[in-house]
């Protein structure tokens, strides 16, 4: 299939927002989305962006049933390992269902890897839901390993009231 992978621009935020919602629906959590298209524009495309994006685009004659040419995306940002140094974190990776099986996901991930390596990163990290078998298989085929299983690392979160109490020094 004919497609291109390129850096996301401000104008892509409308489609990124659409696809974020599609991915959240796939993960069965679309009611948790608080971020708007405007937030994405501000947080990703101002002087100090909190994330970077790449887009997979197909030519007009291959557009989706609903008329979209932007058919996949990845959001990533740079992080830091206190043991190994610079790292890249892939927050989202998504290809619209009708465009899967054509190596677009692989190409998006390859691009994030290239950008990460160019920035001096020695590892790429991301999280996957334990029931998402097709994604788990895809990632394992790319040479990824499960840090949660192998090292017993659990992802923890402190938010909302708990975060506020913590900030005030309450126990």
């Amino acid at each position: 299939m004919d497609f291109t992978i390129r850096a996301a621009t401000l104008e892509d935020c409308k489609d990124i927002s659409r696809m974020i919602l599609e991915l959240a629906e796939y993960e069965k959590v679309s009611d948790q989305i608080k971020i708007t298209q405007r937030d994405l524009e501000q947080d990703g495309f101002s002087k100090n962006p909190f994330f970077h994006g790449i887009i997979a685009e197909v030519p007009e004659h291959l557009k989706s049933r609903d008329g979209h040419t932007k058919v996949g995306y990845s959001l990533y940002f740079y992080t830091y390992s206190s043991w190994k140094g610079r790292a890249v974190y892939m927050e989202d990776l998504y290809v619209m269902p009708e465009f899967r099986g054509k190596s677009i996901g692989k190409a998006l991930m390859a691009k994030v890897s290239q950008l990460g390596l160019a920035a001096g990163c020695t590892q790429l990290n991301f999280t996957v839901l334990d029931w998402n078998k097709s994604s788990l298989d895809f990632y394992r085929k790319q040479g990824c390993w499960d840090v949660t299983s192998d090292l017993g690392y659990h992802c923890m979160r402190c938010e909302g009231d708990a975060l506020e109490h913590l900030a005030q020094g309450d126990l």
């Binding site: 971020i35 610079r86 499960d146 913590l166 900030a167």
Partner: protein
């Protein structure tokens, strides 16, 4: 012992930060995994686009329990992004030297970080903990943190440099 001071790390703190990183890694039985150098920490934390931020806890000379060290605790963090809820604060490392525990230094560091998270309009603070580290898990759960891996099924995956290079070379 009441007299300790929490402050933003400076370039001169880099040797102490690396020392504490190694002490924490040793506690996690992973000391041989630390390949980061003082040069990396300096370049990556104190250049134009820092990959991480650090707060350190130091004690005045008359309160030093361990010969020669005034920096006795630290936290390393950076900002990440969740496309559903926006900015997050990610806590990479958090450690207080054994001789200085039980005085509220850890709690104070966490309070400062939570405050930083709130001031930067972060929705939550994320971090990982090894499931075998019961003391730390209890410490965090007492403060309202919850285990995303257990409760939502998120698994942390990683690709190391060799496989990153293979992936980035694929067309």
């Amino acid at each position: 012992m009441a007299n300790f001071n929490l402050r933003k790390a400076e370039p001169k703190d880099v040797p102490d930060i690396l020392r504490l990183i190694k002490e924490l890694a040793k506690y996690e039985e992973m000391e041989d995994q630390v390949i980061l150098t003082e040069k990396d920490l300096l370049e990556d934390g104190f250049g134009d686009h820092p990959f991480y931020h650090c707060v350190v806890a130091d004690v005045a000379a008359e309160h030093q329990k361990v010969e020669g060290y005034s920096v006795i605790g630290f936290a390393m963090y950076y900002f990440t992004y969740d496309p559903w809820i926006g900015k997050l604060l990610y806590l990479e490392d958090f450690y207080v030297m054994r001789e200085y525990r039980g005085f509220g230094i850890g709690s104070e560091i966490l309070k400062t970080l939570s405050d930083t998270a709130m001031k930067n309009r972060c929705s939550s603070m994320h971090f990982i903990v090894a499931e075998s580290n019961k003391a730390s898990i209890d410490f965090y759960k007492r403060r309202g943190a919850f285990d995303l891996s257990l409760q939502e099924g998120w698994r942390l995956f990683r690709i190391d440099k060799e496989n990153l290079q293979k992936m980035s070379a694929e067309e």
